[in-house]
Symmetry: C2
Subunit: 346 residues, 2 copies
């Protein structure tokens, strides 16, 4: 195993100075095509690649971004492929850092990360402690670009707490719009009585769905049996439906996610309620299994790849001091299935 060739080696082989080699590789203007070609040929021959540590030392730019993920939750991981691909396209490398669960440790680790000088930006898939919101060496960005020029040492920290800010900025309740769509469809089909199996109150996505439900009940003059709080789990859906009194059928159940809906379906089946004749049911997330339940579950599909890519583009824009890119639209789509009766024409 020989030593890696350096720009000096390339320079010698090409018969030019070392700085010329550097100029070629940094794409600086003013190198004659002939020289450029000589350098490139020599470099290819030697299998030369610039040493990025050395470059980073001079430029004081690392080209690295960190993505912070909570170790316990897997859901945010599904955003990773899109985010990573987006960063790679922009010439960044992304490191995934997992944060401890315990609050104080977590804050420490995060502070260390931000202060390490290793990253130009940090994207958090988990809510940030308030200490990092707008103070200290880091700033939490919402939508505004970096205000000042010429301070590449500033680390941009961006929390993507479920992308709520962005989605909300795209129009009130935009992120819960499918709830409205589904309810309107069911109401048009004759459903008058609704029930919402909600997620936890401390998730903004959960709150948005709840609000969309309530607003739609109000607007369309429907009857609501209420909102039953849950914790995203199948158990909470099952318990909720088991606790329902007899004689409330027919009812349209709007669950906050597929897991809750699956639990609800299980309970309804056990009680001998027919779906969709007695009870219609909708979920959210479109898990792979949902299409194969009996009956198959109407749900909402999210383009998580585009969502991940968008969040990364937002971070990179902030790092570069550019305005935030527009939030993507059409990320959500209702997938109609048997649990809501006849499938409407697309």
């Amino acid at each position: 195993m020989e030593k890696r060739p350096t720009s000096h080696d390339v320079a010698r082989a090409a018969g030019v100075s070392q700085s010329t080699v550097s100029f070629v590789f940094t794409g600086r203007a003013g190198i004659s095509p002939a020289t450029r070609q000589k350098v490139l040929t020599a470099a290819a021959e030697l299998n030369y690649r610039p040493n990025l540590a050395a470059r980073s030392m001079r430029t004081r730019r690392t080209g690295r971004l960190a993505v912070v993920v909570p170790i316990a939750t897997l859901t945010p991981l599904t955003l990773l492929p899109g985010a990573i691909a987006a960063a790679q396209e922009e010439g960044y490398v992304v490191e995934v850092v997992s944060l401890p669960h315990q609050m104080t440790e977590r804050d420490e680790r995060l502070a260390e990360l931000i202060g390490s000088g290793q990253y130009e930006g940090v994207l958090s898939f988990t809510p940030l402690p308030s200490a990092h919101a707008g103070s200290g060496p880091a700033r939490e960005l919402r939508a505004d670009p970096r205000p000042e020029e010429g301070e590449p040492d500033q680390v941009v920290v961006l929390a993507v707490a479920e992308f709520d800010d962005d989605m909300h900025s795209a129009g009130a309740l935009a992120d819960a719009l499918p709830i409205v769509t589904m309810m309107e469809h069911l109401a048009a089909g004759g459903q008058r009585r609704f029930l919402h199996l909600a997620g936890p109150r401390d998730f903004r996505s959960s709150l948005a769905r709840r609000e969309a439900y309530l607003a739609t009940i109000e607007r369309l003059g429907l009857e609501s049996l209420g909102v039953i709080d849950g914790d995203w789990s199948g158990r909470s859906g099952e318990d909720a439906v088991n606790a329902l009194p007899d004689g409330i059928l027919p009812v349209a159940v709007i669950a906050a996610n597929d897991l809750i809906a699956t639990g609800a379906l299980r309970a309804a089946t056990r009680r001998g309620w027919r779906v969709p004749e007695d009870l219609t049911l909708t979920g959210w997330d479109d898990h792979p299994q949902s299409a194969f339940l009996a009956p198959s579950l109407t749900s909402v599909r999210q383009d998580r790849e585009r969502l991940g890519a968008h969040s990364m583009h937002r971070l990179i824009a902030a790092v570069r001091g550019l305005p935030a890119p527009p939030a993507p639209t059409d990320l959500l789509r209702v997938v109609w299935r048997e649990s809501t009766g006849p499938v409407p024409a697309a």
Copy 2:
């Protein structure tokens, strides 16, 4: 925003030479406790942190590992948290790199990655092209440690194609053992007729389950209706059960994963077959929804966090030239539920 302090700044503040500061931070022996303390105090005051790019340039070690994930598949992502945490504990930083789907592009990108000099090791969650197996600047390691000393420039590339090698090395069929466990239990309960809904033949995990199924049929002298190939999808499970002739009940269906099992359950329900009375059913993966199907699905739970951690430890051992750590055991556990009848006592 001031400049980051350097070791010179710390030296000046502590009244020692710059090399002494370096010695303290690299943990070199032979620094008096008093001096050490002075340096540490000054460093803390200035909020000094060694510049890792500079260090990396001198030491020629990057402290960075890459994890390669196929962009389209999310399953391997569930191994990430464990792998990342393990690397962090060992003092490495891990970058996640997504590979293009197209074969030739993919190989190029991988070669570039390996040759980039940026990583001390590469862990692949996707099978590697054969070109990288044992030739070129990279080596694919299976279980043997790095043979030679003193060549830190060598990049260790480790493919974790479903961890098959490792699992197999832990004992033949160890990774499909739960299939045996489940079949023995069902046979003990009186089931004589079995059917296997398999996954694709080009997955080693799928093959192992198939072999375990066939071997157990043979060993216990059971009747097998055959093995029906599938593609891991719910559709393949649904189609398989729909295509079954009448009059084969009772039958014990062993599905290669939960998705196939969910499709099979749907079809069985549609045909009016009672589960578990007429047909018992098992899956694999223990998806969150599986516990809330009606009936709930017996499945196999994998400790993916430990699996991810193990693969990372294996890579790190190889990078350091140490022997491979022993493969973890007890990573798989059968979760008994309604779809196989009365739950056995734990």
